[in-house]
């Protein structure tokens, strides 16, 4: 399976990755190679195999429903580029 340059650009956009136009062709080739590997695996008959959700053969540990986190807003916001009235400020996102 070969990816087109449009598809590579779309994937990059969805992942919000900035890529150089000159690299698109090589990305297309490399990503297509990965897909080819997947295709090869897909050709194996797995009818009797339960799909695996996680490589570890373990089940989810659960947490008791208790509030254990104290307020650390000041600490977290010290790293934020811009805050006001306790809010994190970001470039406006509404149309």
């Amino acid at each position: 399976m070969a990816l087109t340059t449009e598809e590579v650009n779309k994937i990059a956009y969805l992942a919000r990755l900035g890529i150089d136009e000159q690299d698109v062709d090589s990305y297309a080739k490399e990503l297509s190679g990965i897909l080819n590997l997947v295709e090869q695996m897909s050709s194996v008959n797995t009818e009797q195999v339960t799909p695996m959700a996680h490589p570890m053969d373990q089940v989810q540990r659960l947490r008791v429903d208790e509030v254990t986190e104290a307020d650390q807003r000041a600490l977290f916001q010290a790293q934020a580029p811009d805050v006001e009235a306790g809010l994190y400020l970001v470039p406006k996102v509404i149309d």
């Binding site: 947490r63 008791v64 429903d65 509030v67 977290f76 811009d82 306790g86 994190y88 509404i94």
Partner: protein, 477 residues
């Protein structure tokens, strides 16, 4: 052409846990911005989500309540999209293997019962809140809500009108509150829904193209938004245009829906299993436990009320729409020891009226069930008349006193001394010779005047039935 509407709802019910679904931060509503957003909720590097067991229990309780299949093995997935109130760049949700599978729910619309399929219900985390005003061209982000557990309840496209959609939503709303899994507070966003709406020519088997109307947080808006959307789609098709599959927002001020994403590409969430979370295994024992936690469900309670208390359908709906109302009603019946009819009438009449007028629900009633029962008991044993009872009700509403204290203090006790009433009646007759004349000449209407006078002189404390009988007797002579 005749059109048929097809509606499916996705309801988001915030689960009533103390802490978030994957972190130990508080879920309490109304805190200062970002004071309940911990490192996990902020998506800081190196953190790991750990599932809140209570969120799982509450989801299970919903599943068994609608008779759904419970997945023995369920998986969390990442739903990828970029928005500032979703700091990780993905929402942890469930995709292929949701915790609750296919179930059903019966709704009643205009006297008809209709069965609506529930496709699935899955656990997921809520996003934060974006505030777009007042920040000089920037948006403010509050992540307190980020990571709050949600149960997304997805219906089959089984509803055929806005009315049915509202009935279904109300039914789920009642159910989740009965189950104690969600507080149902729509103003605070604890219960909201997205509606998938499409239209098709009547008789056509395939569905039309649907539009999704997002974030409807009141029953009224659900109805209005769907009705608007149906009109809009029919208009488009009839004028030769097609319906675009898209996400739309309902604007309640303008009563219209608007396209939310104009140029952005179609959603491509690229779900995949979240490697940070292991599969959740639900044992038969856990399902049994959830069954054991089920209260009497709304439909069963309604049926029982009709049989046990002889109330009609409408009254039964009124009394059982919330568990708190039903509990209050039954507590009043047992505490007052008076006949059910009196309790029902006062409960659905005066109390419901006063609560309505003041915008309160039963849990906020200034009159607790014990004091209300105390009032009814005094009506039942004829200590006070119905008229005086209204006065006592007012006093109960505005004070902490019991009905007995109020009756005592204000001397509202009905006069049972027939001699005293007799004396007053004699007085009224003696002072109103003209009216007596009229009455005797056949003007029966004047009788009301005499009753009024007697009640006035006794300050309403005479038993009206007794007054009537005695007056009739006296006037005959």
């Amino acid at each position: 052409m005749e059109w048929e509407t097809v509606i499916g709802l996705e309801i988001h019910a915030q689960l009533a846990t103390k802490s978030k679904i994957f972190s130990g931060a508080s879920t309490a509503y109304g805190a200062e911005p970002n004071t309940q957003a911990c490192a996990v909720d902020l998506g800081l590097p190196g953190v790991l989500p750990v599932l809140n067991e209570q969120a799982m229990h509450l989801a299970l309780r919903f599943g068994v309540a609608i008779g759904a299949e419970i997945a023995p093995y369920s998986v969390f997935s990442r739903k990828n999209y970029f928005y500032p109130d979703l700091p990780k760049g993905y929402q942890i949700s469930q995709f292929e293997l949701p915790i609750v599978g296919q179930g059903v729910l019966d709704i009643e619309v205009e006297g008809e019962t209709k069965r609506i399929g529930v496709t699935r219900a899955h656990l997921e985390e809520d996003a934060g809140k974006s505030l777009h005003e007042d920040f000089q061209g920037l948006s403010g982000i509050d992540l307190n809500r980020a990571g709050t557990p949600l149960l997304e309840i997805v219906s089959e496209p089984d509803m055929r009108s806005a009315k049915e959609a509202v009935a279904y939503m109300k039914k789920i709303h009642t159910l989740v509150r009965y189950l104690g899994i969600c507080d149902g507070n729509m103003q605070e966003g604890s219960f909201r829904c997205d509606a998938n709406v499409s239209v098709r020519p009547k008789g056509q088997a395939e569905f039309g193209t649907r539009a999704e109307v997002k974030n409807l947080n009141s029953f009224r808006f659900v109805e209005k938004a769907i009705n608007y959307e149906v009109e809009r789609q029919i208009d488009r098709i009839e004028s030769g245009l097609s319906v675009v599959q898209e996400t739309r927002l309902y604007d309640s001020d303008l009563d219209e829906t608007r396209s939310m994403r104009s140029k952005e590409e179609a959603n491509d969430y690229r779900y995949f299993p979240d490697p940070d979370l292991l599969p959740v295994v639900i044992t038969e024992a856990l399902i049994e436990q959830a069954r054991g936690e089920l209260p009497e469900l709304p439909d069963a309670k309604k049926l029982r009320f009709k049989e046990q208390y002889g109330v009609d359908e409408e009254t039964a709906v009124l009394l059982t729409h919330s568990k708190d109302t039903a509990d209050y009603y039954e507590a009043v019946i047992s505490a007052s020891g008076c006949e059910v009819k009196l309790c029902t009438n006062w409960m659905t009449g005066h109390l419901a009226g006063a609560l309505n007028k003041n915008g309160l629900d039963i849990t906020q009633s200034p009159i607790e069930h014990a004091r209300f029962a105390g009032l009814l008991a005094r009506i039942a044993d004829n200590t006070i008349s119905g008229k005086i009872a209204k006065q006592v009700f007012e006093e109960l509403w505005h004070s902490d006193q019991t009905a007995d204290e109020i009756i005592d203090q204000k001397g509202l006790k009905q006069i049972t001394d027939t001699g005293a009433i007799e004396a007053i009646i004699d007085e009224v007759i003696a002072n109103n010779a003209g009216q007596v004349e009229q009455y005797l000449s056949g003007k029966d209407k004047v009788f009301g005047f005499f009753v009024g006078q007697v009640m006035k002189l006794t300050q309403g404390k005479a038993n009206p039935g007794e007054v009537n009988a005695m007056l009739k007797e006296k006037l005959k002579r």
